[in-house]
Symmetry: C2
Subunit: 372 residues, 2 copies
């Protein structure tokens, strides 16, 4: 590129940045990102100490000699970016089962994920690898990593469609990109647990992220849903929770709905003391569910439909319970507002800008997108 | 902040960005980063397929039923950022043992790492989690994750100092930050292998990163050194290699130096055919080593000194061999140019801007920082 050209391009980009930085929400802006600060840190976690005395300069050919040594583990690992003129509330993102921060980055077909979209809309973003996952792999408990072929099961559980004759059969009208390269990139997002899933531990580490970010909005996905609700009990710095197809929910003790039978396993909410539950009535909460989910009582032969039918239904009851106690929760069932074809990875699909726009409107209505 | 103020602040930042974007190298600029594009992708890897036929909608309560299913693994995971007006060559970063992309992000004391420093100097950056590490955790081989307390050993192996009486005793004049929080953050960078270390596999995945980035400079650290040299044999898109304290080296078959005895284990280079070795003579190569390393024949009681004494010495012979065959390699021993106190994590220490400046000068001298 010639030197004369880039100068005017930079100024044009700068003009667009100014628009994104100071004007009202402009959904879909694809201008450059002006970042004041970015980096990584660990949040939460524990320290194991082995008894005995450390012998300095112990030569033993790299064999473990833990006496007197420490091991830091069970923290979350976070990558954050702060734009030039950030909004008052940050956005922190917690992935689901078998996933990492990558869920929120580039979409399978190579477009901006929620990280970039909301950075461009002026939010500081904090992407979490939960304890015992991804770059936060140091676990205080043992684990076995076993490569077991399972991607066709996930494809179906996550409602992309069915798999037969060795090929994907995408659901009609699906928003997941249908090309081979996108599916390959998507499958490679998966990364294993390096220690058992522990919702309470993840909740504490997630709450600790907000000590660094300051007040913010927590976005969760799938298995991240339950520790996300629990994190909101741990800190008042979580100003709102947005959950994409959470796997489970909290209820006041004594008000946990009866177990919902499903062919992928019965689902039962988690009971907590009322004084704890009431904390969830003091912040705005939004839950999103995608397409291809039957009604609550329609037992199905479809793996994905069967898994999410009960989680959607229990989510409705969670929202009702929060609102009964004076809270502000909303359940957004996308097909009911005319948005069709979304799978379990709704925020990363072809219409993710439309979903981001819906979220931006909700955040605006709830005063969550203020400048200061 | 008032609306009038931020406008002028943005313009001031924009002015600084323009300086960084178009002017010559300005070491130490701490202005904002203007990013045209950023995201993540997977590079390299393989696909395992289990024999048999996948039974769509197989309900078995989440137990594995791999028949007819696939498993994508052994890829690298990469986070990349492209500034507004990038230089012609990208920079890709490969971590060392027990580490991830986090090595190159924020320093232990919370300042800009090489990711931000070189992004601000106009380079596109590609940060790699190697296959079977961090966010690239899906491994095609089994592994056991075992929490063993070992941090005091690493503290000594990496030459921060010694550990005695339950406390760190930092080396005199060390560039590693001495506060407790920095050490805690640093220890939490570590993340385990989720499958055996395989240099050839890592080399292929690293080479694949350059298919996406285009021609670029590969920076490696420690255990990443050997697969880094191997990656440069795999693709002509690697235009230069910079290695921080590499663990091992390649030599022409028949010219591998005799094994160098060390109390942390004997070190021997890896022999490759001369036609392969000659590829390393066609690109600029720089190797950096820090402080606290004795001369080659000074057998030591110090764990760190003993481990790096032989790796530095073999590095000198590697550089000599490359240059004997007409190459362009340089060994930078920091104390010999008046830069003292660096440990094995030299690029992330208090004087990392000084080290970045030295690298910028070398890149400039070798024509690696051109605009187009």
């Amino acid at each position: 590129m010639k030197k004369k050209q880039w100068g005017s391009l930079v100024m044009a980009a700068v003009f667009l940045c100014c628009l994104a930085g100071c004007a009202t929400v402009k959904p879909g802006d694809e201008n450059a990102m002006v970042i004041r600060e970015q980096g990584s840190f660990s949040a939460g976690g524990t320290v194991m100490e082995t008894g005995g005395t450390y012998v300095s300069q112990n030569f033993n050919n790299w064999q473990p000699y833990p006496a007197g040594q420490t091991y830091h583990g069970d923290h979350a690992s976070v990558f954050y970016q702060i734009p030039e003129t950030p909004r008052a509330l940050a956005m922190a993102f917690l992935h689901g089962a078998g996933q990492s921060a990558r869920s929120w980055q580039t979409t399978p077909d190579g477009r901006d994920g929620f990280q970039n979209i909301f950075l461009k809309r002026g939010f500081s973003t904090y992407l979490i690898d939960q304890p015992r996952r991804g770059q936060a792999g140091r676990s205080t408990v043992e684990a076995a990593i076993t490569p077991v072929a399972d991607e066709q099961m996930w494809f179906e559980i996550w409602r992309m469609g069915h798999w037969s004759g060795g090929s994907p059969r995408y659901a009609e009208g699906v928003q997941f990109p249908k090309d081979e390269n996108s599916l390959e990139q998507f499958f490679r997002w998966m990364t294993p647990n390096t220690g058992g899933f522990d919702a309470a531990l993840i909740a504490r580490a997630t709450a600790s992220v907000f000590e660094k970010s300051g007040d913010g909005i927590l976005l969760t996905h799938s298995q991240g849903g339950l520790p996300g609700w629990m994190a909101a009990l741990e800190t008042s710095k979580i100003a709102a929770v947005v959950s994409y197809e959470p796997g489970n929910y909290l209820f006041p003790e004594g008000e946990v709905p009866d177990s919902l039978p499903s062919r992928t396993g019965a689902l039962r909410g988690v009971g907590i003391p009322m004084v704890e539950f009431m904390k969830l009535t003091r912040i705005p909460i939004a839950i999103y569910f995608g397409d291809y989910i039957p009604e609550a009582d329609e037992i199905s032969d479809d793996l994905g439909a069967e898994n999410w039918r009960v989680r959607l239904e229990l989510g409705r009851r969670f929202v009702d319970t929060i609102n009964t106690y004076g809270g502000n929760a909303v359940m957004v069932e996308l097909p009911k507002i005319g948005i069709y074809g979304n799978t379990h990875f709704l925020f990363a699909e072809l219409n993710n800008l439309e979903l981001a726009d819906h979220l931006s409107v909700w955040m605006n209505e709830n005063g969550l997108d203020k400048r200061d």
